[in-house]
Structures are given as C-alpha cells and as structure tokens.
C-alpha cells in the first residue's frame, strides 16, 4: 500500500510521520504538497501535526481551504483512509469530515506531556491491532485540544461507538484529573460514521520507537497495514 503525508506550510510533524512510516515500518510513503489537486494513487492519507498556515485565524481554519483538502475530502467520501493527528484532527473538524470543534485547553496553556488514553473502539481500521480498553502511554502537544460538540452530536458519537480514544489514568479509569485539556467526556479521538476517517489529538508517531520511551502508538499504523492486508517488515 502507499501512504501520503500532506505537507501544509507550517506542518511540523510531517517529517516525523514519514520517518515512522519509512524508517520504522519500511513502508512506501511520500509527502503530498498542499497545492496538489489530486491524491490518486494513495491508500492512506495522513494529515500531520503542526501549525498549518501559522494557525493564525483559528486552528485548521485556513488549511481546510487549501487545494489538497478538496481532493482529500473526495478521497474520504469514496472510503479512502484518512488519519488526522493533532493539527490534522483540527483540520478534519474544520473541513467537516468529523463533527465538533476544538476550544483552547481549559488550562489556557500549551500542554506537552505523556498522557494515558483508553482504546474505546478497537474495531476500526486504525485501532484493530489494539485490544478494547487497552491503555496507551502516548504524548500530546497542543494548545487547542479541548473537544466540544453539541449534546446531540455527543450522543450520536457515543451511541455509534465513534469515540475511539479517551483520556484516562494509568489504570484505565476515565477521571477529570486525567483529562489534560478539558475536552468533553475526555474525548481524545473520534472517527466518522463510515469509519474511514480518524482524528486524534495524541501523537502516535511520537511513541513508535522504544528509544523514545513508548511504542504504544505504532499499532495505529500497523492496524492500517493489517486492514489493508499488506505485509510489513519489523
């Protein structure tokens, strides 16, 4: 399979995702420049973290209008796999590929730290290599990760098992103390109705190598590989 990692001006985790895909998982992966109008030929598209277009208006608000996003939207509509990490998640919200919005962290501070998240749904193309309720040690790094949606949307997300990751403590308990940003119902990641689009605030690429302290994120990428049926080398 072939991976594409979108590079917006101001993306800064693009090289990190490419490193994990190419150097750790030995995958066929390349950058997609934001001005590209077609994403044909790719099987999974990653929108990486960063500050696309400086995030000056509102996170993800400008990136959503970039030429590449029109083709990413069509790609997603046809069932293509799209993974948005951090700023990528924010862009997916702005583009309407996922419901809800991001508010500023309730601490009013940027937060970069390891957190725990619980896998709420292990039956998605991005998570089926995990066990349900598995607790992951994974880093976050954001200023706007405080997920918000209206009550009806939240009800639907919960009813459809579209909440994929939730902030929790080390033992897997979902508590107010383990919520690093104030997000509703400790939501850290959600999928769309069809299940082919995932947005998550934590950074799986930052915990995909033992030397960096945790490999808990690697299975996000491995799940996609297995879902696709492609082999990969250790």
């Amino acid at each position: 399979m072939k991976w594409g990692v979108v590079v917006f001006p101001g993306s800064n985790c693009d090289r990190d995702v490419l490193h994990v895909l190419r150097d750790v998982l030995k995958q066929d992966a390349e950058f997609i420049w934001h001005e590209q109008r077609s994403v044909s030929g790719y099987d999974c598209i990653v929108l990486p973290g960063g500050f696309s277009y400086g995030d000056y208006l509102r996170t993800g608000a400008i990136a959503r209008f970039s030429p590449v996003m029109q083709s990413v939207e069509r790609f997603a509509d046809r069932g293509g796999l799209v993974l948005g990490i951090c700023n990528g998640f924010q862009i997916l919200l702005e583009a309407g590929l996922l419901p809800g919005a991001m508010l500023r962290n309730d601490s009013l501070e940027f937060r970069c730290q390891h957190v725990f998240v619980r896998v709420e749904n292990a039956d998605t193309p991005f998570t089926h290599a995990y066990q349900k309720s598995q607790v992951l040690n994974i880093p976050i790094a954001h200023n706007e990760g405080n997920f918000y949606a209206d009550p009806e949307t939240i009800r639907l997300l919960e009813a459809d098992k579209r909440v994929v990751f939730r902030y929790c403590d080390e033992s897997g308990e979902v508590t107010p103390e383990s919520n690093p940003n104030g997000s509703l119902r400790n939501i850290a990641g959600i999928r769309n109705e069809q299940g082919n689009v995932l947005g998550m605030m934590p950074h799986p690429e930052r915990c995909s190598e033992k030397i960096l302290g945790s490999e808990d994120g690697l299975h996000v990428f491995r799940s996609v590989l297995e879902f696709w049926g492609g082999g990969y080398c250790e």
């Binding site: 990190d16 490193h19 500050f51 937060r111 970069c112 730290q113 950074h203 930052r206 030397i211």
Partner: protein, 735 residues
C-alpha cells in the same frame, strides 16, 4: 538637542574616528550605519580584546568564532552547530515578543550555516516570585518562547530558570539553538563572487526595531523601560518556519554562495558583514526592498530590525531558479543589489547614491576598548563567612523540604510542559534531567546538551563562577554518559563603562578559559550582553555556558532516577566543609556570602571521566550531578525520577564535617551514581584509578529518604510528600 552622534548612541571620540576613516563628515544615513555597527551589541567593542583569551581550537572544531555559529565535527560526516544569544532588554520591555524574537533570532543563526535546527534551550533569570512584576515577566517570557518554538517545530528540550532579586528589573532571556549539518555542506555568510546577486527574502521591512541594537541593547535602563517599546521587534514563527524550509531547500540547488540572517542592525549589519568577510563590496538599492509601510526613508530601511528576513547571495544568472524555491514556500524574494570588487557598501535609493562606506570600516574597524578594571569593593565584605555564625538547623528533614520548595530547585515541569519538547522524534532524555539527550537518527550516536550558570557564585567570585559554570555544564553532560566536547556561551554583565564590571568580566573569562582548557572543551562562539542594570543596580555577573557532549552508543545513556531497590548508591568525589554561596545559606539563613565552593579542575575532569568509564562498562544504573542544594537535593531528585519501587534512599554518612555542610553544601566535582551491589567494588576501583575519592554511601530504598550520620539519624522523610512539595512549589506560587 543633543549632538548628532549621541542620537545614534556613539561617543565624541568615536565620531572623530569615523571622520578620520571617511576623510569627511558622515551624512545622517552613514552616521546611522556606524551607530548600529559600532554599538556594543554589534561590535563587542568593550569585550573583544578579552574574548581573545578563550581557547577556540581543537581537533573537533569545524568552525570556531567569527561566523553565525560554531560547528563541532562529531564524526561520520556530521557537524553540530550551536550558539546562544541574549534577548534581555527586549524581554524586560515586552516579555512576550522580546522572548519570542530572541528564539527566532538564534534559530536564524543556525540555519544560516546550512544546518537543520533540532533543539532549543532557554536560560532564564527573573526576580523573586513574590514580586508581581517578576511573575508577569515570567509568564510573558514563557508564553513567548512557547508561541515561537512550538509553532516552528523545534523542540525546546532544556535550559534553566533561577530567581533572584537582582534580576527583578533586568530579567535574563538567553536562548541556545542547536542544529545538525553534513560537514561538507556548511554554508558561510560571505558575499563571494563579484557580479553575484543579492536577494532579500522573507518578511517585508517595516519600522519595527529601529535602533534595537544601539539604543535598546547597548544602554542601561532608566526608570521607565516601557518607553523603549518601539525598539522591540515582533515575531512571526510561521514566516520563519517557511524560511527554514525554503533556505534548506534552496541550498540543495548549489546556486547559493552565501547566506546571512538579518538580526541586530538589520540590513546594515547583514550587508557589511557578508562583504567584509569575503573582502568584497556590495551595492544595494533600498528602493527594491519590499516594505510593510509606505514612505520609509533609506535610513529606516537600513536600520529596521524587522524579523524573519534573510540575505541570500546568488550566482549571477540563477536568480530566477532561486526565487522559484522561495515562491514555492510563499516567500517574497527581492533582487536588491550585487557584489562588487571595491570593498564599499554603497547604498542607493532609486539609483541615487545615498551612502558610501567601506564595509570593513563598519564591520571590523569599530574601536576595541581596553577598559579599566577594578576589583569591586563589595567582595571583601561578602566573602567573609564564619561558619560558627551559621546556626545548625534543628531538623534536617524540614530543611530538605524547604529546599525542594525553593523555586530555584523546585520542579520546572510547569514551564517545560508548555514547550513542545518531543517534536522531531530525537528526545531520548526529556527535560528535567541533567542534560537533554538527542539521538542522531540512522546510527548509534547521540548528543547531550545543557545550559548552566550560577550568578551567585560569579557575584561572590567571578573567576570561580566562570570556571564552575563550565565545569558543572560538563558534569551535567558527563552524568548522561556523554563526553563533553565544546561550549558556546552568553555572558551577561552590567555596565562595561564601570571598572568593577570589567574586572568581573575579565575574571570570569579567565575562569571559563582555564576550565575549558582543562576539560578540553573549546569555545565555538558566544554572545556578550552588557548594560544589564537598572537605575545603577547591576545583575549578578551571569556567564551562561552551553555545553555539547557526544555519546557514541545511545544505549549507554544515563538518567538521574534510581532503577531498583537495593542498588548501591555511590558518591564520586568528596564533600568539603563549605557553605559559601549555597542555596541553603540563601533560603534557610537568608545570607548570600562566603566564597563559592572550591573548584579543582583536575579532580573535576577525573570525576567526569570516572563516570564515563563506568558507564561505558555498563556498570551504572543511574547518575546525577550533585549541585544546587547539595547531596540531599541530589538524592531527592534521584528518587523523584526513579522507577516505581525504587523511590527512596537509605544513607549512612561518616564524613567528619558539619552535618549541614555534608547534606546541603555544594562542593563541586561530585556525581551520585547507583549500580548493582555486585558492581559497586568495580565502580569504586575505576574512580580510584582516576584519583577520585569514591565510596558507597547507602542503598536505594522505596518510600523514604533516611540519613544517619556518625550514629545519629538526621533525616527521615516521606518521598511522596517531598515530591508533592517539589512538584507544586512553582505552580502554587503563581496561582
């Protein structure tokens, strides 16, 4: 109305020297060019002669002082580029933008060398947290660093913060940036090749920051620093991120012969320096400079310090190819002039010559002052310390609790969790340890870096303070398992026109130089910040050292935290009966006096090498530098960072010295290591073969720190409670 030379910050003598060099009176623009380039900030006129004392050569040094940043060859064709710079006065005036643009400025110095920036460090000093203005400055500076560094995608992985009243009106914001480059791709900032084109790239030029170098950075503050706000620049990290990527991409084309960032004194400095370094001249037309505001004069264009701009010297005929790369990244690039052979910096405005000055006169001919140096009178008085006048504490456990709550020792997590310290996927050892460790992808190597300085020591004895800053920074990287190889620095002092300041400065340089020679860590570059005083009251002399260490095998990396209960705890080094300048004396007894701890450089080197030998034999489970707060704080930190089940220590000490000096004294050249009990003998053998005293002082335990000394129990404290105090001290103070 003051004299015209005073308006640009020059003296009468300097004005006469300019007339002498030109053979005529300068016009207003020419005088402005000299004002910027001959400012203390740009010319180092008070420090240049003394900086020559630093050792700057060594087998690993690929580029010493003189370019935008130094480069150290770490083998395998890889160079590490690093440099530190101060942004103290802008941060005092407007903390958010002052700190943000400080970060932006030093990043440009690194990618100007052709390197990809991979890490940032911040060495910060503020007044006491009880002071509202200091809290405001702290909040603004942290937010500014976080704003710029996080957006641009360079991890902020280390640094230090200290609080002392002397910095209340003049905080220090020193930023270090580190990059990596293929050694054969190092770029020099030189305008080579007559006829080549000069491009100005990046942000448009506005009226911000005019006279930043001369009137803001090179003068002491009066009562109302806010009045100098117009001299502070405004940062745009998104623009700089585009510049980083575009410049690195454009260098790959081979069409670029030289690259120079625009920093202090803007275009004036960039143009005169690239020409002077290459021995060429430059002719530029300010009318071609893209502007943010209309009706800007040539003077304003030449001295604007608008951020995020680069000067690019391009092979003639290839301008379009180069511009194409910049426009891909959405950046303006304007062809503003060409390289000439006559050595002149010739400035045109719509083809009319408006200034004509020899580039070397601006860049290299500023006066170099050998200023008077006199030992300050305060020293004899403050160096007096009769230990008998210091009462022994009743409860040593309470003292330990007091020390871990001191903001100088307390956890800085509140600060570093606001910085993205993981982006780029190289952070092997995260903030909070002795040094940050960054792996080099694609091999087994890693580098360890830290910044360090103790202003209190330098105040009490600038020679020792300088030497200890180098020694401790080296010890920090050695405690991570890295061989110290080179330093950069940021020297923060008061007004150089005061002989006492110059004496402190000279002493400090001598101390640093001696330590660098002994530890074989040459100086690759640095920065001097004078005039750090307000209303005649100077800061402590604060020589910040940025140290680089190299680890050949990243699997040998050491961290401070204990690993398993029962391990032997060994102290490498010896504890003397000394308390001068200690955090204990300041926090518990409210005294800043005595002499700083003795520093014996040979012992220092031996202690570091012993730690490295033992780590290479894979004997050690942890290592931690013993510094502020002494042995007890060191042990407490080893417990805070420990694995579950190993968060405690049981120590039995037998040194026949005052218990407070034993527990809280800051004797130098000490490292606390832990290892399996079966390996303790071998570790001690290694230390002794290097001539380093070493002994087992106890065992790793869990839950408590207990200390007995000569049969009496001095300390018995709960680690979870102590940890809570240490962790909460800074956030609680700020609430």
């Amino acid at each position: 109305m003051s004299e015209r030379f005073a308006q640009v910050g020059l003296s009468h003598e300097e004005y006469l020297r300019i007339i002498d060099l030109l053979g005529r009176e300068p016009n207003d623009l020419e005088l402005g060019l000299f004002g910027g380039m001959w400012s203390e900030h740009c010319s180092y006129k008070s420090s240049r002669l003394l900086l020559g004392r630093f050792p700057t050569t060594g087998s690993r040094i690929a580029q010493g002082p003189g370019e935008n940043a130094g480069v150290v060859d770490i083998g395998d064709g890889l160079g590490v580029v690093f440099k530190a710079e101060s942004h103290n006065h802008p941060s005092a005036v407007e903390p958010f933008q002052g700190a943000a643009t400080g970060v932006g400025g030093i990043i440009r110095d690194i990618f100007t060398m052709g390197a990809r920036p991979i890490a940032l460090f911040d060495s910060l000093r503020f007044g006491e947290l009880s002071d509202a203005r200091s809290r405001y400055l702290l909040g603004g500076v942290i937010a500014g660093i976080s704003f710029y560094g996080n957006c641009i995608g360079i991890p902020t992985v280390g640094g230090e913060i200290y609080f002392d009243e002397c910095y209340a009106h003049n905080p220090l914001v020193n930023v270090m940036c580190v990059g990596t480059v293929d050694t054969h791709k190092i770029v020099r900032a030189r305008a080579e090749g007559v006829g080549n084109s000069v491009l100005l790239v990046g942000a448009k030029t506005g009226r911000d920051g005019i006279h930043g170098a001369s009137l803001l950075a090179s003068q002491a503050f009066s009562e109302k620093p806010e009045q100098k706000r117009p001299a502070v620049q405004v940062g745009d990290p998104f623009m700089e991120k585009l510049l980083v990527e575009a410049c690195l991409e454009v260098l790959e084309t081979g069409h670029v012969v030289g690259l120079q960032d625009l920093g202090a004194s803007g275009l004036t400095s960039a143009c005169s320096e690239v020409a002077a370094r290459a021995g060429t001249g430059l002719e530029i037309d300010v009318a071609a400079v893209p502007r943010r505001e209309s009706d800007m004069s040539a003077y304003e264009v030449m001295l604007s310090e608008s951020q995020e701009r680069m000067l690019v010297i391009v092979r003639r005929g290839l301008e379009r190819e180069v511009s194409k790369v910049f426009s891909k990244w959405g950046l303006d690039s304007a062809h503003i002039g060409r390289v000439t052979d006559d050595g002149m910096l010739r400035i045109l405005d719509n083809s009319q010559v408006v200034a004509e000055v020899r580039a070397k006169h601006l860049a290299d001919e500023a006066p170099a002052y050998s200023r008077d140096a006199v030992k300050p009178a305060y020293l004899d008085e403050v160096n007096e310390l009769d230990l008998d006048s210091v009462p022994l504490p009743e409860d040593y456990g309470v003292v330990l609790q007091q020390l871990v709550r001191s903001p100088n020792i307390a956890s800085k997590e509140w600060v570093y969790r606001q910085y993205d310290h993981m982006v780029q996927l190289n952070s092997v050892v995260l903030p909070g340890a002795d040094a940050a460790v960054l792996r080099i992808k694609g091999g087994t190597k890693a580098i360890a870096l830290c910044t360090d300085a103790n202003g209190r020591y330098a105040y009490l004895d600038p020679y020792s303070g300088g030497a200890i800053a180098v020694a401790e920074a080296a010890r920090n990287v050695a405690a991570c398992g890295a061989q110290p190889v080179a330093i950069t620095n940021c020297l923060n002092f008061g007004n150089p026109e005061r002989p006492e300041t110059m004496w402190q400065f000279a002493q400090c340089i001598d101390g640093m130089s001696d330590a660098c020679r002994m530890l074989d860590t040459p100086v690759t570059g640095g920065n001097v910040s004078f005039y750090n005083e307000t209303l005649g009251s100077p800061i402590y002399p604060t020589p910040v050292v940025g140290m680089l260490g190299v680890i050949d095998d990243v699997s040998c990396v050491l961290t401070p935290g204990f690993k398993s209960k029962g391990d032997s705890i060994i102290l490498l080094g010896r504890t003397l009966e000394e308390l001068g300048g200690s955090e204990y004396l300041k926090s518990v007894h409210a005294r800043v006096c005595g002499k700083p701890p003795v520093i014996e450089l040979e012992l220092e080197k031996a202690c570091q090498q012993a730690c490295l030998d033992a780590s290479r034999e894979r004997l050690l489970h942890s290592a931690h530098d013993c510094s502020d707060g002494g042995l007890m704080v060191c042990i407490a930190e080893c417990c805070f960072g420990a694995r579950a089940g190993a968060q405690g220590a049981d120590l039995v000490l037998s040194d026949k010295i005052r218990p407070d000096a034993l527990l809280f004294g800051e004797s130098q050249s000490r490292i606390v290591v832990s290892c399996g009990t079966e390996d303790a003998h071998r570790v001690i053998e290694i230390a002794e073969s290097r001539g380093v005293p070493a002994c087992v002082i106890g065992r790793v335990d869990d839950g408590t720190i207990c200390v007995s000394h000569l049969g009496s129990r001095l300390v018995d404290v709960s680690v979870p409670e102590l940890r809570q105090m240490w962790k909460e001290a800074i956030p609680c103070t700020l609430k």
